[in-house]
């Protein structure tokens, strides 16, 4: 077999529009790759087993938990993090709405909340408040600031679904 199991591999992917190439241990998850290897510490690690959503990033445009994906599985993929989406302005409306409503309290869950909310609002599809709550329910906030967060997401969704 040409392909033998290895403990260390090369990963080559696009992170926030930039090509990166690193040698990584097979066991390293994507969140640690972003934080430790690329020093993109905006992606936070809460539970580190897929429950809290703090580590959410976009992989090929879809929101995923970066603690439940190996760094080597990012090979050939397009990764976007809170840093890239903030710099590009893609999250501007959501970030403004979060600030206006004090929806970021301690800020630990905020990056993950914004990325999930980004996917929710991207389609511009109208949703009821209970539907928004359900959509966002995979992201936990230990400050329990949920009402303000849902308010912010709802406001952005409303403004988007009004714009043709």
């Amino acid at each position: 077999m040409t392909n033998e199991p290895k403990h260390s591999l090369t990963v080559e992917c696009t992170v926030n529009g930039e090509r990166v190439r690193r040698e990584v241990p097979a066991r390293r998850h994507l969140a640690d790759f972003l934080r430790e290897d690329l020093e993109l510490t905006g992606t936070h690690l809460g539970c580190e087993h897929g429950v809290c959503g703090a580590c959410s990033v976009l992989v090929d445009g879809a929101v995923v938990r970066s603690c439940l994906m190996l760094a080597v599985q990012a090979h050939g993929r397009r990764i976007e993090t809170i840093e890239g989406l903030s710099d590009s302005g893609a999250l501007k409306d959501l970030q403004t709405a979060f600030i206006e409503r004090n929806a970021a309290q301690c800020g630990f869950c905020t990056a993950g909340m914004l990325l999930t909310a980004h996917q929710l609002t991207a389609s511009g599809e109208a949703m009821t408040r209970p539907e928004i709550r359900e959509y966002m329910s995979g992201n936990l906030c230990r400050c329990t600031g949920y009402h303000a967060i849902i308010d912010a997401v709802e406001a952005v969704l409303r403004s988007k679904s009004r714009t043709p």
Binding site: H7, H29, V59, L68, L70, Y135, S137, G138
Partner: protein, 284 residues
Amino acid sequence: MKYPDFAYVRPASLGEALDCLQKYGDSAIPLAGGQSLLATLAMRLSSPEILVDITGLTELSEIAREGDTIRIGALVKHVQLLQSPIVRGATPLFTAALPHVAHVAIRNRGTFGGSLAFADPAAELPACLVALGGTLVLGSSAGRREIGAEDFFTGLLETDLRPGELILEARVPAQAPGSRWNFSELSRRHGDFPLAGLAAVMSPMSEARLVYLGCADRPKLATATAGMLRGASYPLKDVPGLAAALAEDLDPADTPGCSAETRLQLAGTLTYRVLNDLQEIPAR
């Protein structure tokens, strides 16, 4: 926690993947979406020596209709299943159950085959597959075999998969014209594995296939309950003997936070709710 150490290999073809699983046997585990497997690694509940990443095998990522059979590849993601017009048209029970599967970020990566292989008795997709009378196609370097979903799930997180075997796809008969279906579950938080759930399909002749999740060590086809409800008039209300039939079919365990007695009670509540609501859903 960080994952324990393991070696990783990404086979380039299905043949290579099956050879690899054959060669390493018990020490290798196929890695698909990883939404359960990697979580068990993070909690140090499993420690495979080798992960065989099969996510590049695009031939396992398709949903197709062949006559009255729907073929769902093992690597079809939950989001793909949820949005599939083929699935919505032919096996809408899946479409009804999928919003209950975890959360959007998990559905973006988690796979159909992964959910079947993990075999959590409270998982939605295994229960739906049993309710629809589906069949799994398993592959190994020695060849292929088929097994009915009901026989595939053998116990708590246990299946009939043998070392070296990989789930390739499921073949699901399209729901009969005139059939009705419904899915519901009771969980403490949306997206959690439920305390109890029910996937139900009712044929035009009112023969019900009722599969309860979270109420036994596997998705459980409740034959005594279905038999007792044959010819019942709707809406169901205070059916004598329902609790006894459920107790005969199901064998819930006492778990921290939910006794077996509570689960049986919840199974009864779901039976009324799911079957009564089912009458209101237009037939296929």
